[in-house]
Amino acid sequence: MEFTGIPQKTVTAREAGLVACTRCNRAWPLGTDVCRRCGKTLVSRDVFSLQKVWALWLVGLMCYVPANMYPMLRTQQLFTVDESTIIGGAVDLAHYGAFGIAAVILVASVVIPLGKFWAIAFLAVSVRSKGTFASGKRLLMYEIVEYIGRWSMIDIFVVAILSALVQLQGLASITPGPAAFFFALSVIFTMLSAQAFDPRMIWDAQSEDDKAFENV
């Protein structure tokens, strides 16, 4: 934020007696219900935002547990049947020497989802407790969560491609396990949870800190 010559004080729509449309960026007088340009319901701050975030977050987390316990892939080769979980599959890949791919799978299906659960929870808690963390860092976190969340779907797509492709009667076949279902749900619910977060709250906490600081 070091842009010399630009004063750092901004006026928010709420301070100016306005309500913003978060879809088309149009300003309306405070109290307007619906954006007349794009039809979005207008709220100055989404007061139920955190409730929605936590509810969807919890469902996502609940789906993530069976996603890791049940098998993701069921591989049948001649007479042997091999069932592997997400982490088990990555470990197998590493055994074959495909470290790069094992890392992609581990990052996309373990590191990103867990990081996302942590980041969303952190954001939701930190906007409540004032003055613990700089807004810029919270924003960066929000942007990373928004951008990276979708990439967890990669594992589902790998399972889809493999189980469609490897269907060689009698020789080898791959079928998806129940974990694929739960994992997809987990990704979808965490995406919805991140979308429910109202990022405008990040700065409200900060500006209240500033006011408190000025009073001191």
Partner: protein, 228 residues
């Protein structure tokens, strides 16, 4: 625009106090959707970007002839999505046995019991959402670019198209293919069908289209169809 020049930024001018903002007509204001900072509207020139000073969100990013480029990309993408989903995508062979699949087959491979839901979701994320977004974009932008009055329900169409943006996952599927190929490589010989290359081009087009599209400009031209 010279290739070597860095992209030019233009920061929004900010009104010094809330009093002035309340005097400005509402259509002359723009509010950052991420941090609620309010600015008096200043239109950047083509190639420049208006960026929120507080959170650095790009608010307006017009490009020269963007409308026509987006329409061209969308038409190409519609053709590619349809072709890429029906032609053979990948083919494997082991000991004389072969199996060729299309993208549609891959998406619909989860077909037993509750897995059907997953099949529909996968097919949606890779094929139907991108396809629908392209069609809606064409529907909204063609009248705008031709300086005609906005299409009927164009606001509604653009709304759906924007809501679907995070759920269009063609590029993620592309990376998924790479991972799947390495997994199968030990097991069997894999060869690429025509749809594989079409899908590769499609991913590039989808990303390019997202980069060219300036949301604010579209909403603005839907509100004032002639003025632009």
């Amino acid at each position: 625009m010279g290739v070597l020049h860095p992209p030019r930024y233009r920061y929004m001018w900010r009104m010094s106090d809330a009093m002035n903002l309340t005097k400005t007509p509402l259509e002359e204001l723009i509010v950052c959707p991420i941090c609620d900072a309010t600015y008096q509207l200043q239109r950047p020139k083509a190639g420049e970007r208006a960026v929120c000073v507080r959170c650095h969100k790009v608010l307006i990013a017009p490009r020269y002839k963007a409308g026509m480029q987006i329409i061209a990309i969308a038409i190409a993408s519609v053709v590619l999505v349809i072709a890429a989903s029906v032609f053979p995508f990948l083919e494997i062979s082991v000991a004389g046995r072969t199996n060729a699949v299309s993208i549609l087959d891959a998406a619909l491979s989860f077909t037993r019991g509750p897995m059907l839901v997953l099949a529909l979701l996968t097919a949606g994320f890779i094929i139907f959402v991108p396809l629908l977004r392209m069609l809606l974009t064409l529907y909204v932008l063609i009248p705008v670019v031709l300086d005609r009055p906005a299409a009927k329900h164009a606001v509604w169409a653009f709304r759906i198209s924007e809501a679907m943006r995070p759920w269009s996952m063609a590029e993620i599927f592309a990376l998924g293919c790479a991972v799947a190929l390495v997994k199968v490589a030990d097991l069997a010989t894999v060869s690429f069908g025509p749809a594989f290359w079409m899908f590769g081009v499609l991913v590039v087009l989808v990303i390019a289209q997202d980069g060219f599209m300036c949301k604010w400009s579209v909403w603005n031209s839907l509100e004032y169809p002639k003025k632009r």
